[in-house]
Symmetry: C2
Subunit: 236 residues, 2 copies
């Protein structure tokens, strides 16, 4: 049974999302319409609709007469990220604890199972995707349509930042991952117990762990940069 165009369209969207989240498509990378049409066997019309949809969700950015590219992950946006994330994450977790359905809790446990699996055997990409899925589900649990757009954007760049900085080469980092995994378990427990306060606290803890991990990488780079290097041209 050949799959319909609609299915291929969905597959294309899923592929692009995955590629963006895992940095298979790097921030700023140009997307080739013709090539993608060929690869996914759809014409340009539905392809471009997918582009617009993903642009609306923050995966891509469209420039008039100059095609689609993967959303940038620039310095200013990273600053924005650190500002907005704690607030939104906390609110989402709190609401998730209040509103989660039994079905959603099951889905969350499944996602955590996959995440644990990714920690052992998986690649960085698998880990990032599994973690992304876990938090997406908490977003669905919160179910607040006004919070979700921002939350989902944060998740996109969280995954990409994690892909950049979370290659666990030191003992400390591997340990952090284990702790993150345990926090996920605690989050599930808090949600299942409908413990709003605990969920919010765990969101904060989880975020702090994540932030510290990132700062381990960002900070030294900033300190090691001599002033003279500021005149250096940025690489293409």
């Amino acid at each position: 049974m050949k799959d319909s165009v609609g299915d291929r369209k969905a597959g294309l969207a899923a592929h692009l999302k995955r590629s963006v989240l895992t940095l298979a498509l790097e921030p700023g990378a140009d997307l080739d319409e013709a090539q993608l049409c060929e690869a996914f066997d759809v014409s340009r019309t539905p392809l471009r609709e997918v582009f617009r949809e993903l642009a609306g969700e923050g995966y891509l950015s469209l420039r008039l007469n100059r095609g689609a590219r993967v959303s940038d992950l620039s310095h200013t946006t990273l600053r924005d990220f650190f500002l907005a994330a704690p607030m939104i994450y906390g609110a989402v977790m709190r609401l998730a604890a209040l509103n989660a359905t039994a079905q959603q809790i099951e889905a969350l446990k499944l996602a955590q199972f996959d995440f644990r699996d990714a920690l052992r055997t998986g690649s960085g990409a698998h880990r990032a995707l599994a973690n992304n899925r876990f938090h997406q589900i908490t977003g669905e649990m919160a179910g607040n349509i006004y919070l979700l757009p921002s939350f989902n954007r944060l998740l996109i760049d969280h995954a990409r930042i994690a892909m950049t900085f979370y290659q666990p080469q030191t003992q400390q980092m591997a340990q952090n991952l284990t702790e993150a995994c345990q926090q996920h378990d605690a989050i599930i427990a808090a949600i299942e117990a409908r413990d709003e306060g605990a969920a919010a606290q765990l969101a904060e803890d989880h975020w702090n762990l994540s932030r510290n991990q990132i700062e381990l990488f960002v900070m030294p780079a900033a300190l090691d940069m001599p002033m003279g290097d500021l005149s250096r041209k940025t690489p293409a």
Copy 2:
């Protein structure tokens, strides 16, 4: 000089946004592709791209094989709104005070000028649009790409809720509008003074005023509704 297709497309998008914000297009209303193509002299391809774009921003919702309609403003979403708005508004105001440029402050003053004008002479629609513009500018000032998606969605429904509930027929309501206008002035002052704390406080005050105004209408309506009326069919 005839305007290009791109201009007509932008005009279409602006028209649709205005219509949604002012309830000229009611929540849930179906949009007729053929009619809009005719009216704005564009073909279906760019029209449908506009639809997708506006759907991504929260103005419309698209259902597979069943066309575009104006986003609903249902009971559950109203609840979501009251939950998310204070937090996001506060954060945006705070950031606006920190980051506003001189140019943006000028734009805000201009918007406030128009809002004041709308209070005297304008229709409800003019008032809602002017207020919307004012707050949109504060969003631009905050300039946090992770907060803006949620903030802009809130603004859409804030305008629509205001259109529903803010027909100032009592003395109290007219007075509230005057107070809202004064709060706008205070907000401008706080931003210009880079007073983060004051801006956040004003956001809270402004929100409370808005919420009280809305509750004046929502509450009695809920109490006055006899149980028997629940079986009544909703009007088309």
